[in-house]
């Protein structure tokens, strides 16, 4: 076999790298243009427009229920549509379903792995999904029979090549959306376990996702270690929008069209692990790594309240479906509902 002509190859390589350099320049120019355009649209600050809005009064929010039972850090929780039941998962491998109103435990499942980082309640209230270091998302139908072993009916739905960071049912029990440390999100058919759509675009671990709240919505947002928050179209798998903000990982996300305001304070130096909005969108609750919850006035950008109670990081926070309370899970092994 004749050896390839060396000079030709060298020229080819030079050509390739030239094209790559060209493309990079083009890409950088476009990025610059995009920033310019966005800056033009940034004609005013949200809190300036909101000056005429009436301020919120004093809030008296406190822990109304404390749920004890996990043997290790609580990593995730989700509400049932009945507004009182919740499911929670922990580093100890357990997934527990509680009636948070009475604080009774109703079901418990032991997962084959530790660090169960994601859990979700099905819209019907008849099943829960969970996963973590096992790289999978499994669905467990909830039986009314207390003696029945839930693990027996387990259905393995999603398979990723790295840890499962978040999962969520869409409007039905039949589809699940997952995000993973392998940098992708995916939509699955629960019944068959088939992959319906995959979402590629993050350059690193995806840590969280959130679905657009409307019935007709077909989009969701995901945030990751690449400091990007991407908005996706569930039907096509395309990334519709991308936000590059923050200094570091995006641990949690809530649907938005653009970055309109930043909520920060000099005295808050620890990161936020989880966020959620109140029903009207006027309040933003953030669970922080300094064990507290900060409540923000979304329009005015001011901190309305700081809540103490947890004895270690707050790892998860969600407002209940009817907005009457929010629940937090913490590394102190407990969950608390606040109102």
């Amino acid at each position: 076999m004749r050896s390839p002509p060396i000079p030709e190859m060298a020229t080819q390589e030079v050509q390739l790298s030239e094209t790559l350099a060209h493309l990079k320049t083009e890409s950088d120019t476009l990025k610059g243009k995009l920033e310019e355009e966005r800056a033009k649209l940034h004609d005013v600050e949200l809190h300036q427009v909101a000056e005429k809005v009436e301020g919120l009064g004093q809030f008296v929010m406190k822990t109304r229920r404390t749920l004890k039972g996990h043997g290790n850090k609580v990593l995730c929780m989700d509400w049932c549509k009945d507004k009182r039941r919740i499911v929670s998962s922990s580093q100890d491998g357990k997934v527990i379903v509680w009636d948070a109103f009475t604080t009774n435990k109703e079901h418990a499942v032991t997962m084959p792995c530790t660090w169960v980082m994601a859990c979700a309640y099905a819209p019907s209230g008849c099943a829960v999904a969970c996963g973590g270091l096992d790289n999978k998302c499994s669905v467990y139908p909830l039986s009314l029979d207390k003696n029945e072993n839930l693990a027996a009916k387990k259905k393995s739905v999603a398979m990723h090549t790295n840890y499962l960071s978040a999962c969520s049912f869409t409007n039905s029990d039949m589809q699940i959306l997952t995000s993973s440390g392998d940098g992708t999100c995916a939509l699955w058919d629960v019944e068959s376990g088939q992959l319906l759509q995959s979402f590629h675009g993050h350059a690193a671990d995806v840590l969280c996702l959130d679905l657009a709240p409307s019935e007709t919505g077909n989009t969701f947002v995901s945030g990751g270690c690449d400091k990007k928050a991407n908005v996706w179209d569930m039907r096509s798998g395309q990334c519709i929008q991308s936000f590059e903000t923050h200094e570091s990982d995006i641990n949690n996300s809530s649907e938005a069209d653009r970055e309109v305001a930043i909520y920060s304070k000099e005295s808050i130096i620890f990161g936020v692990s989880s966020v959620d909005f109140s029903l009207s969108g006027r309040l933003l609750f953030g669970g922080y790594n300094d064990y507290t919850i900060n409540v923000w006035d979304v329009l005015k950008g001011t901190r309305v309240s700081i809540l103490f109670g947890h004895e270690n990081r707050v790892s998860t926070l969600r407002v209940s479906p009817d907005g009457t309370a929010f629940c937090t899970g913490s590394w102190d092994h407990t969950l608390r509902t606040w109102a």
Binding site: L20, L23, K24, S27, L30, K33, L34, E37, L41, D43, V44, V49, L56, R64, R84, F101, M117, L133, N162, Y163, T170, M174, Q175, G181, D189, E191, S192, L196, A203, E215, T216, D226, R235, C239, E247, S248, D249, D257, R258, V260, S267, I269, F270, S278, L279, S280, G281, R282, L283, D290, Y291, V298, L299, F308, E311, D322, T324, W331, D332, A339
Partner: protein, 522 residues
């Protein structure tokens, strides 16, 4: 997408990717605070030597001073927040009480010292048990009251002696060597160094019951660039490779250089973004403000609920009321906000459907609902269901034929060649717009909706309650109890009684002569 080569505005000097890690960012912030506190000339606290009993305590500051500084310089609104923040700074090992293993900040005369940068957490210490053993061993060798082991430390030492039984001689020798080195130091300096060393171990081997702030979120562990790097020893003991591997997952995505395809994808994405219609912030702000204003009445955190919030009152009636298909005025008002809101509420959906049925135009809504249902089906059912929808709503001579423009119709029939969950997206959107602009507006003006909104019927029926019962009694007195006997009328609502009367009017009129006036009123 491959990460751009952009400089992160301002900070730009660090090239170490580790600096981006969330922990590092927090550490740098704390270090900035701690540096500022110690800078007396720049408004920091005074670090002094305090005379106590028989000796002097070098280089200390009171807890109260620290709290005050935090409040002033970090705009903490109240002492509680400052104390909390200070306690966290202590828990991470940047400041420590000189006479306690528990790392919290107290707002009083308790004395604190600052940790040496050598021991800062940002140096990524992961001290081995061999180091800890050397440390505890060393403490027992020094005959000073202040260096006595606490109970939990004595227990730890005993455990380590058992675990390292074979190499205990080596550990002992290392401890002796450390003691020799320490003896050479100045007395005051030794006090300070000893306390800093102790504080270091209070972070890495905390008192039982205290939070271990060195615990890491396992998702962040993976990002260590060199997970198997040689861990440096606190006492310069060479690593014998005995370290247990921490639960680190090797990255499945090795960072690779962006290829041509990557950049091309990025370019097309950026072009789409540029073409995308974006709103001005002022407009976004306005729409956000009107949205929140509209829904604030429905937000239990902002407006008190009626009946009271179950979580606060321990009374679940609020949920019982919400679950009933008998909607409150406030809930009915929400249906008027938008078609989406009306359809979100099952009661709203029912009423809208009822209205449309009365106009014989319910096929649009039924189509919309059917398509929603289709999207929620398991994959295996989708194809069949899609066909059913076609037959019911779109095929020639369909029983519930909907009106689609020819373009949507064409596209939909094309989609159905390979039926999927989104085959009817176009059609559904079109029908939704139709309903929104036409029947929804009329629904809001309709009697069905207005009655509910203004709670008219309820009011009327309360009045009629009395009337119907008297009429019934009158009827009964004239016509006998044969029909009525079997039913418990006290349990019937007035509406039902009225209907009952209507139904049995024939019977009554046939049997006995009843005034027609009665029937008209009902």
């Amino acid at each position: 997408m491959a990460e751009g080569s952009r400089d992160h505005g301002g900070a730009g000097t660090t090239t170490d990717p580790e600096e981006d890690s969330p922990n590092m960012i927090v550490y740098r912030k704390i270090e900035d605070i701690v540096t500022r506190i110690q800078d007396e000339k720049a408004g920091g606290v005074a670090i002094r030597t305090v005379k106590s009993f028989l000796s002097k305590i070098p280089s200390v500051v009171s807890g109260a001073d620290i709290v005050q500084w935090l409040m002033k310089n970090l705009s903490a609104e109240d002492p509680a927040e400052a104390i909390h923040l200070g306690s966290l700074i202590a828990a991470h090992g940047y400041i420590f009480p000189i006479s306690d293993h528990v790392l919290t900040l107290k707002d009083d005369g308790t004395l604190y010292r600052f940790q040496s940068p050598y021991f800062w957490p940002s140096n990524c210490w992961e001290p081995e048990n061999t180091d800890y053993a050397i440390y505890l061993c060393k403490r027992t060798m020094q005959n000073k009251a202040r260096l006595e082991l606490a109970d939990y430390e004595a227990e730890n030492l005993a455990r380590l002696q058992r675990a390292f039984a074979r190499k205990w001689e080596f550990i002992f020798m290392q401890a002796e060597a450390q003691v020799k080195i320490d003896r050479k130091k100045d007395k005051a300096e030794r006090k300070i160094l000893d306390s800093q060393e102790r504080a270091f171990w209070d972070v890495h081997r905390p008192v039982p019951g205290c939070v271990n702030t060195t615990e890491m979120d396992i998702r962040k562990c993976r990002r260590e660039k060199n997970p198997h790097r040689v861990k440096k020893s606190v006492y310069g003991v060479p690593d014998e490779g005995q370290s247990q591997p921490s639960p680190v997952h090797s990255s499945s995505q090795p960072t690779r250089k962006p290829t041509k395809e990557d950049v091309q994808k990025e370019i097309s994405f950026l072009n789409i973004q540029l073409d995308r219609h974006c709103m001005k912030v002022s407009k976004v702000a306005d729409s956000l403000m009107s949205y929140t204003e509209q829904f604030m009445d429905y937000d239990p955190f902002v407006s008190a609920t009626e009946p009271t919030n179950p979580w606060i009152s321990d009374d679940a009636s609020f949920w019982d009321v919400e679950a009933s298909r008998d909607p409150s005025q406030q809930r009915v008002k929400k249906w008027g906000f938008s078609l989406e809101e009306a359809l979100k509420d099952p009661a709203g959906r029912d009423q809208f459907l009822k209205f449309l049925e009365s106009e014989f135009s319910s096929e649009n809504l039924r189509f919309w609902l059917a398509v929603q249902d289709l999207k929620r089906r398991p994959l295996q059912d989708v194809s069949a269901r899609a066909q059913e929808i076609w037959t019911e709503f779109l095929a020639e001579g369909a029983p519930s034929s909907i009106n689609l423009d020819s373009h949507s119709y064409e596209r939909t029939s094309q989609n159905l060649k390979d039926p999927g969950r989104y085959s009817y997206e176009d059609a559904q959107e079109h029908i939704f717009k139709l309903m929104k602009s036409d029947s929804y507006a009329r629904f809001l003006r309709s009697n069905i909706y207005q009655d509910l909104l203004l709670a008219r019927k309820k009011f009327l029926s309360q009045q009629d309650d009395y009337w119907h019962s008297t009429t019934l009694k009158h009827l009964l007195s004239i016509h006998g109890y044969q029909i009525i006997k079997a039913l418990d009328l006290s349990a019937m609502c007035p509406r039902l009684i009225a209907r009952f009367l209507l139904l049995h009017y024939d019977l009554l009129s046939a049997k006995h002569k009843v005034e027609p006036r009665l029937m008209l009123y009902v």
